[in-house]
């Protein structure tokens, strides 16, 4: 039996197909403005017996594929538990949202926090800031990590932070130090979200596209004083969880 999990996020769609508990296929695409058709395109020519959807586009998918769905919270929890059995805390920072999830010793979700309606401190925020400072997205984290000091950035709103960045540039501050300040701001926000779910025992699984950012990863470890585990494909954790749940739901 082949079980597929699809995570239709705000910025990207991920697909994982499992056979006998092993990943046999993996795919990713941008969500664009027509998530359902993007998902259809991603699934074309893929073979699987059962599929389960998660992510913000799950309801659309549920209707047209008559597929079961779970929330991102449950899918990330399941995926992270698979990759790091025994993990008690998960941080996921995706394209437009972020969440902190606490698990029991058996892997059940006990508590979660999500950002409110705006995308402050998420992947989109870092993307806009990288552009404002003239970095490519891949270079942004490494550049910030190398900065000698961190500037204090207060705003987590992309619009306000951009003007804060502009005024720092005008003051002659270096782009790397501004970048470091922006990363530190994202981390402060993530840490307070994790602390609200009351987990203080490590390690923490860090998932979502922003987990690819080395500076965020390191600053999180420093700030939490805990081991922060980034899976090999951090964006795929939700899709993996969905595929596992597709099998377990049978």
């Amino acid at each position: 039996m082949r079980f597929a999990g699809i995570d239709i996020g705000s910025r990207s769609i991920e697909l994982i197909i499992l056979e006998d508990g092993r990943i046999v296929d993996r795919a990713q695409t941008e969500t664009g403005f027509d998530p359902l058709n993007r998902a259809k395109a991603l699934l074309a020519e893929k073979s699987f017996d059962h599929i389960l959807a998660t992510g913000y586009g799950r309801t659309l998918f549920e209707v047209s594929y008559e597929a079961p769905t779970v929330t991102e919270i449950k899918a990330y929890a399941r995926g992270a538990w698979q990759l790091a059995p025994g993990v008690r805390s998960i941080l996921d920072i995706g394209g437009q949202d972020s969440k902190a999830i606490a698990l029991t010793e058996t892997g059940r979700v006990t508590k979660f926090e999500m950002n409110d309606r705006c995308a402050a401190g998420t992947g989109k925020f870092l993307e806009i800031m990288a552009e404002a400072l003239g970095y490519g997205l891949e270079d942004f984290g490494p550049a910030a990590l190398q900065a000698e000091k961190s500037l204090n950035i207060n705003s987590m709103c992309a619009v306000f932070a951009e003007s804060e960045v502009t005024s720092l540039i005008a003051k002659g501050e270096t782009p790397a130090e501004i970048a470091r300040g922006l990363h530190a701001a994202v981390v402060r926000r993530a840490v307070s979200m994790l602390q609200r779910v009351h987990q203080d025992s490590g390690p923490v699984v860090f998932a979502g596209g922003v987990a690819c950012n080395i500076c965020i990863h390191r600053l999180l470890e420093q700030s939490l004083k805990l081991e922060v585990v980034v899976p090999k494909h951090p964006q795929m954790v939700g899709a993996l969880g969905a595929a596992l749940l597709a099998g377990e739901n049978r």
Partner: protein, 425 residues
């Protein structure tokens, strides 16, 4: 609502075009949220009718009452004692505050970071779309939260007769004295408004009328404790909302009729949803018509709401007034006794509210509590984190939601609520 009421609406000063817009929105929302529910009790037909005529027949009734010499008093708070209004030959109605309206006009008067409920009450006035407000001979404001207290200073310029009632903030002897004095002052102002003299006899009758509707609501609430729940939370909330608009005697009878039907359902284990459906207790800010956003998300996500710890809910309508007093003073004291128990978040400390949430969660066999706050509602927001911590320390899963009347966060709320339901299952 047909066109038969247009002359009436015009005569009381409504903006007909804006009012049509409001009613279209209201009817659409009611149709989408309420009339699509399956397996509703037949007794809800009465409430459907009330809602379809909420700005029509009910307003005509109020105008007829005014024609016969009664006064209409509008209120924004459950601390305004209906017993005293009734005893003074007046009808008390709750005023509209559950939807955004005339937002640009409101922004000229109130700061942006004012809660949606206060903004809405101004929007309905400035947009000239609330017939209850327009037919009111006196509007009672009350110094509960700072937002309302200061907003009444501005409302005073917009309405003919605003009466402001002061409110205690602590439940001690001084607080009680203040409430008693304020109720006496309110009694005198009702007497002055209607030119009547309130007697012990009249007040007792008022108490009995209001007790009857509170008893009916309490019966309804208890029936909702059954698993499977015999009625949806949306319909339970609707009864709580209609509580503020309807003729009190007719309302009590209609709720009791509904309860008769629900008793059969409970006896036959017939539920609005299957046994084992996740059961949610809502706690926090009041939800005025047509603020059905959160309950509709919760119930369409596969849960059933089994109680509202809210002013539009059990906090607002529980406890009766002792009607055994002989003198006016004794009866007023009994009214103070009853109202002083309300666990409103303007009181400090307010431990009783937490105890009440726990009791309601236990009684209603709730699997989890969703704590609902309007954005910028400081008193309930301040209580939300301690409430969450206290409930979770007793292993009652709790989800804190902060939102307003806008619909832009519906997708986000759905995810959070569905994840919460996955967790409590």
């Amino acid at each position: 609502m047909g066109n038969d009421y247009r002359d009436m609406w015009q005569s009381i000063g409504l903006d007909l075009e804006a009012h049509d817009q409001l009613l279209d929105g209201l009817n659409q929302a009611y149709g989408d949220i309420y009339l699509t529910q399956e397996n509703r009790p037949e007794g809800m037909q009465y409430f459907d009718f009330v809602m379809s005529e909420v700005h029509g027949l009910r307003i005509k009734e109020l105008l007829d009452e005014k024609g016969a010499g009664r006064a209409v008093i509008g209120s924004y708070c459950v601390f305004v004692p209906e017993e005293i209004a009734l005893a003074g030959n007046a009808t008390l109605v709750g005023l509209c505050s559950g939807a955004d309206f005339a937002v640009e006009e409101v922004d000229k008067i109130l700061p942006r970071n004012t809660c949606a409920l206060i903004k809405s009450s101004f929007g309905f006035k400035l947009g000239k779309v609330c017939p209850f407000l327009e037919v009111s001979d006196m509007i009672v404001g009350e110094n509960t939260c700072d937002g309302k207290k200061k907003a009444y200073e501005s409302l005073n310029h917009l309405v003919d007769r605003l009466y402001v009632m002061d409110m205690p903030q602590m439940k001690n002897e001084q607080g009680r004295d203040l409430l008693r004095n304020e109720y006496k002052r309110f009694l005198a102002s009702v007497e002055e408004l209607t030119g009547t003299s309130i007697t012990a006899e009249g007040l007792r009758e008022g108490i009995q009328t209001v007790n009857a509707k509170r008893q009916a609501m309490s019966r309804l609430q208890r029936l909702r404790w059954a698993d499977p729940a015999p009625i949806s939370g949306l319909d339970g909330l609707l009864a709580n909302q209609v509580f503020f608009y309807d003729n009190p005697q007719r309302f009590a009878k209609s709720v009791n009729d509904l309860c008769d039907e629900l008793e059969h359902r409970v006896a036959e284990q017939q539920g609005i949803r299957a046994k084992g459906t996740p059961r949610i207790l809502l706690s926090g800010c009041p939800m005025a018509v047509p603020n059905w956003k959160l309950p509709s998300i919760i119930e369409s996500s596969g849960a059933v709401i089994v109680g509202e710890e809210s002013c539009v809910g059990e906090r607002g309508n529980r406890n009766l007034v002792d009607d055994s007093g002989q003198s006016l003073d004794e009866l007023i004291e009994a009214i103070v006794d009853r109202y002083f128990e309300i666990e409103c978040a303007i009181f400090t400390p307010n431990q009783e509210r937490l105890e009440q949430i726990k009791a309601m969660a236990a009684n209603s066999q709730a699997d989890g509590v969703i704590h609902y706050c309007l954005q910028f509602c400081q008193p309930y927001l301040m209580e939300s984190i301690p409430v969450e911590n206290a409930l979770e320390s007793e292993n009652i899963p709790t989800l804190r939601i902060e939102t307003d009347y806008g619909l832009e966060d519906v997708g986000q709320l759905q995810t959070r609520i569905q994840a919460f339901l996955e967790l409590v299952k």
